[in-house]
Amino acid sequence: METPLTRSIAPEKAPPDLAQYEKAGGYAALRKALRMAPGDVTAAVKEANLRGRGGAGFPTAQKWSFVPMGDDAPHPKYFICNADEMEPGTFKDRLLLEGDPHQLIEGMIVSAYAVQADVGYIFLRWAYKLAAQRLEQAIAEAYHRGYLGRNIAGSSYSLELHLHVSAGRYMCGEETALLNALEGKRANPRAKPPYPQVSGLWGKPTVVNNVETLCCVPHIVNKGAAWFKNLSRSGDGGTKLYGVSGRVKKPGLWELPMGTPIREILEEHAGGMRNGYRFRGLLPGGASTDFMIADHLDVAMDFDSMQAAGSRLGTGTMIILDDRTCPVGMLHNLEHFFAQESCGWCTPCWSGLSWVEQILKGLEDGKGEASDLERLQSHARLLSPGHTFCALAPGAAEPLQSGLKYFRDDFDRHIREKRCPWRS
């Protein structure tokens, strides 16, 4: 089984420096891309069926194709790597950032070349201190070697690359809020259209892609679209970093073929549940995905299969709910997070979420009433897509609506017994 993204990563060791990275075949994709027409790089990524690993699964080449090209295109164009990873339960980009910074930088340069961007930013969350250090070092090496700056590797293409370390807030990961953060403003999202590809950072054409997405690109250019598609067990190309946290025997992160079934990840890789704990459910791809239960364990973890099963692949890092953890308490924790991180722009979000949080707290504290469930349902409807400005609110609705559906008995018990049955 091939693991192109993580093959050079040894978690306890320093990442490959530029010389080591080159020795292992690094920057060959860049040299190859520079000999291709930019549109051919995009075409290869399209053919490979690469879909965005930031959570929404948007086809990467299609995103790039909206960027104005040719002599009349506005400049500078910007290319941004979203390394804000703050989705609760998600710890995949961190491995790529700390473990192989040159892979990401090469991915950025090749991708920026495809849309003929002039300036790149890596938008990194502040907590990833080690990643910041390693990226800075790797960027300096890449400049020194002529892979960044003017006339990259002797070609006519030039790219500047900067690292921006965010000052915090989950909202900054939303791509248009991220643009405001980079411009030194409050990170509220922007109205779409115009889409960033047309009018983004400082009003110029801008692409925002996730770390894992960009790390796939050099491998596609190097080895071809057919090879990339073959890595996968589904229609979406490539491998995927899958993670498991919670009360399993071996929590961790693994690069596996896209479309690996949940059960295989949970049992073969994470070792199954810890002794004394039983599986009750999971959030498959971070806090903002719908709960799944035992009935779903054979679903393949790819974008379409997860959607068909009523959830989302999200970030692919699952969080396990065990039988000794209260599902209502877990939901309270999740909705507290969303309420706290709401940027305050739309009423169903900032006001609705604080109500949701209070109702859930009431249930946990033994003050629940039968009408609470109806109220939670109606908030979940108002938070769903179409009522708010960005995807934070619909993300908050997903665990809520599915939690109400799958753990209804647990809710009823809280109300009937006037206490949380998990608290002594």
Binding site: E87, P88, R94, R125, A127, S166, A167, R169, E183, P251
Partner: protein, 176 residues
């Protein structure tokens, strides 16, 4: 007024951004690095240097949670309260901090040594529960580990204090 050092560090960042406005978050971070937190005076200083309205800068400063608009202790403990850490024992750790340090979330110990803040997911979910103290990550925590870690910081504090006390006697005779 910004110190010379602060000014130089902000100036060094300006190569990364095409507008002065975009520098404001970097500038706030730099001021915080030097002064521990960003006071009203800090806001006024940065606003003046970047030629922004102080009220607007205030709006930016309060949006981002790693800009501290209130004083914090010498060490800031960021305890992850997101879902994986919650499942793996966040509540127990929070209560342990209360028992050991006498502080709850958002509070600072009387001696100014520690401030305890909740924090969203630190990206260590497979090693939950996790926290950061200043720039250092700690994971796979339980109450015993917390005691060990706190003891280490206490030892450092005592060492620092001794150094300070010894300082003048070690040759600084400039005082009359």
């Amino acid at each position: 007024m910004l110190s010379e050092e602060e000014k130089q560090e902000i100036e060094a960042q300006s190569q990364h951004y095409p507008t002065t406005r975009a520098l404001c978050i970097e500038a706030l971070k730099i001021v915080q690095e030097h002064r521990g937190w960003v006071s009203d005076e800090g806001i006024a200083d940065v606003a003046e240097a970047l030629q922004m309205a102080a009220a607007e800068l205030e709006g930016v400063a309060t949006f981002y949670n790693m800009i501290f608009r209130k004083p914090v202790g010498r060490h800031v403990i960021l305890l992850c309260d997101s879902v994986s850490c919650w499942i793996m024992g966040y509540d127990r750790l929070r209560e342990h901090f209360r028992a050991r340090l006498g502080i709850g979330l958002g509070e600072t110990t009387a001696d100014g040594c520690f401030t305890l803040l909740p924090n969203v997911c630190l990206g260590a979910c497979d090693h939950a529960p996790a926290m950061m103290i200043d720039s250092t990550h700690y994971q796979d925590l339980d109450p015993d580990r917390l005691d060990e870690i706190l003891a280490k910081y206490r030892m450092e504090e005592i060492r620092e204090e001794k150094k300070e006390k010894r300082g003048p006697a070690d040759g600084n005779t400039a005082d009359p």
